[in-house]
């Protein structure tokens, strides 16, 4: 019993019903000490899944999960059989994969995405597939062909998206950790809205092979977790060169846990987008939180960056162009249903992308967008010449009410305003909860960005912030 004093909430956890709220780190420790069993974790998680069905988090559940977990647990693998919520755009062998789109309503993959192979090799188990914006086109989960997911922090509100199902799964403790994907905000924005940790790795750090393609030049799979330490642990298992994705990079994968607790006393941090009008209402709420960085010894100062509103346009053009190409494969011949099954949002994006790539318009739109993308690369290169890290909010505000996206053709782009610049240039970014509104129970998130391949730095800063503040309940016993 003595060990439980380290984890105050574990005192009540002799009752297996609460084991679903464990982090990866806590679960691994308790399993190693044989204080709990893998079966008890699954009983608890399965119960939580059942009790939260009203939130519409999971589209399908893996009926073999517990059996696979028992096997993984016996063989001493690093993730010990822990249940992981997986966004429904990761191909999972024998388990329906729809990307929340009716076109793939009948699709049962014959292979696992590379990330899923890595996860299973490390002893992680796919618990189920989570809801998302159809094809990942959105920032709300309202464009899912299978109905919206509700925000577990307050079910009158949306979870964000496109990885809204995974973020909600983590927030509702219906898994131990989760996997999402981000093209421009789809990990960080729902993580911010649901009050969880979300890590968008450097483009090319994690393989895209076997993930339903959206915008191939920015798609980045990554973890959504309860704590920063868990994000580091999960990234460790899924990162690395993959011969099946030629955009993955041969740069070595460092040990992300190694320097995690080193502190940020030596870092120079630039504060971005504090003067963007859309952020005015919430910037003052996080003023005291920004002071935390100085208290921890870092040097923080506001800095001027290229206006993020241009990135909305770059992203809109590039994303739709790549979508029109990637979604051309869905003909209903080899798998899935025919093109009449595309819902409104996908149609809009495919057609606009087709337009901006068409003869007479490609130079005006597509080529111009790619040139402005260069301006952002140059701007970030200049900023990182002066600063080790850049921080901003993850979203212009709190989660929005259900129904808000109806008739809004640009909802996602405007929501992801401050994440788009770093996404289109491939930078890594981490969302950590940084404020909770006591009235609505909704969260704001801080977005911490570093140069390419420096996830170690954002994890270090995220961990230091998480430990120095009280916004993350799970991190208290980390």
């Amino acid at each position: 019993m003595g060990d439980f004093l380290l984890y105050p909430e574990l005192l009540t956890e002799m009752n297996p019903k609460h084991l679903n709220s464990l982090t990866i780190v806590q679960a691994l420790k308790a399993l190693a000490k044989k204080q709990i069993s893998i079966d008890e974790i699954y009983e608890s998680v399965n119960l939580a899944v059942k009790n939260n069905q009203n939130l519409n988090i999971y589209l399908s559940l893996n009926s073999q999960a517990q059996k696979q977990a028992q096997k993984a647990n016996k063989t001493n693998l690093p993730l010990a059989g822990l249940p992981i919520a997986v966004k429904d755009n990761y191909c999972t062998k024998g388990l329906k994969t729809t990307a929340s789109a009716k076109v793939l309503d009948n699709f049962i993959p014959e292979f696992d995405a590379t990330v899923i192979q890595h996860l299973q090799k490390a002893g992680g188990v796919v618990l189920g597939k989570t809801n998302m914006d159809a094809w990942a086109h959105g920032s709300s989960t309202e464009t899912s062909d299978y109905g919206r997911t509700l925000n577990p922090r307050n079910p009158d509100y949306l979870p964000g998206g496109s990885s809204g199902g995974t973020a909600a799964a983590v927030a509702a403790n219906t898994c131990i950790a989760g996997l999402g994907t981000e093209t421009a905000g789809s990990i960080r924005q729902p993580s911010a809205w649901c009050g969880v940790v979300g890590l968008k790795p450097t483009y090319g750090r994690v393989s895209r092979s076997g993930i339903v393609a959206m915008a191939s030049s920015t798609d980045s799979p990554g973890p959504i977790t309860k704590t920063v330490t868990d994000a580091a642990l999960l990234l460790q298992q899924i990162a690395g060169l993959d011969l099946k994705d030629s955009t993955t990079n041969p740069v070595p994968v460092p040990d992300f846990a190694q320097d995690l607790k080193r502190g940020i006393g030596d870092l120079k941090i630039g504060l971005l987008y504090h003067d963007v009008p859309e952020l005015k209402k919430v910037m003052n709420l996080i003023e005291p939180e920004l002071k935390v960085f100085e208290r921890l010894g870092a040097h923080l100062e506001p800095v001027k960056a290229l206006d993020p509103h241009y990135a909305i346009s770059v992203y809109t053009i590039v994303q739709r162009a790549e979508v029109s190409s990637n979604l051309a494969r869905y003909t209903g011949v080899r798998y899935g249903l025919d093109r009449s099954h595309f819902a409104a949002e996908a149609r809009r994006r495919i057609m606009l992308g087709t337009f901006t790539l068409s003869k007479g318009y490609a130079d005006q739109y597509y080529k111009t967008a790619q040139k402005v993308r260069t301006l952002y690369r140059q701007d970030f290169a200049k900023l990182f010449g002066h600063y080790d890290l850049l921080i901003s909010l993850s979203s212009p505000g709190f989660a929005k009410k259900i129904g808000v996206t109806a008739g809004e053709a640009m909802f996602g782009e405007l929501e992801d305003l401050i994440l788009e610049p770093s996404s289109i240039v491939g930078l890594p970014g981490l969302n950590v909860p940084c404020y909770r509104d006591p009235k609505t129970n909704l969260f704001l998130g801080l977005n911490i960005m570093a140069p390419m391949w420096r996830e170690d730095l954002i994890l270090r800063a995220g961990y230091a912030f998480e430990q120095a503040t009280n916004w993350n309940e799970w991190a208290k016993n980390d």
């Binding site: 483009y203 090319g204 241009y310 149609r347 301006l375």
Partner: protein, 102 residues
């Protein structure tokens, strides 16, 4: 104001192989005009001397050895497992020759 006509929607829909009815054409024309209005801000920037960025990996000419990797291949059964219509291990595809285009 940027204009986008239902006729343009029809043309793009045809290129994209997306079935669209007349009512949707009008609505999409407005959606596209709205979106093009938002992204018109790129014209404010001078990019005449700027090279485009098509990818951010810094990698060039990524090759692999030209050899068959059996583990990465589907069997014929696996390849056709998700198809709606097959015949003797082959996909049945829509007719594209001698098709009635009326």
């Amino acid at each position: 104001m940027i204009k986008f006509t239902p006729a343009q929607v029809k043309h793009v829909a045809n290129l994209a192989n997306i079935p669209v009815d007349a009512k949707a054409e009008t609505k999409l024309a407005k959606d596209f005009a709205d979106t093009l209005e938002v992204i018109a801000n790129l014209q404010e920037l001078d990019v005449s001397q700027t090279e485009p960025t098509h990818q951010v990996t810094g990698l060039e000419n990524v090759w692999r050895e030209d050899k068959v990797t059996k583990e990465l291949m589907f069997t014929q059964d696996q390849a056709t497992a998700n198809a709606q219509q097959t015949d003797g291990g082959f996909f049945i595809v829509p007719r594209i020759i001698d098709r009635d285009e009326s």
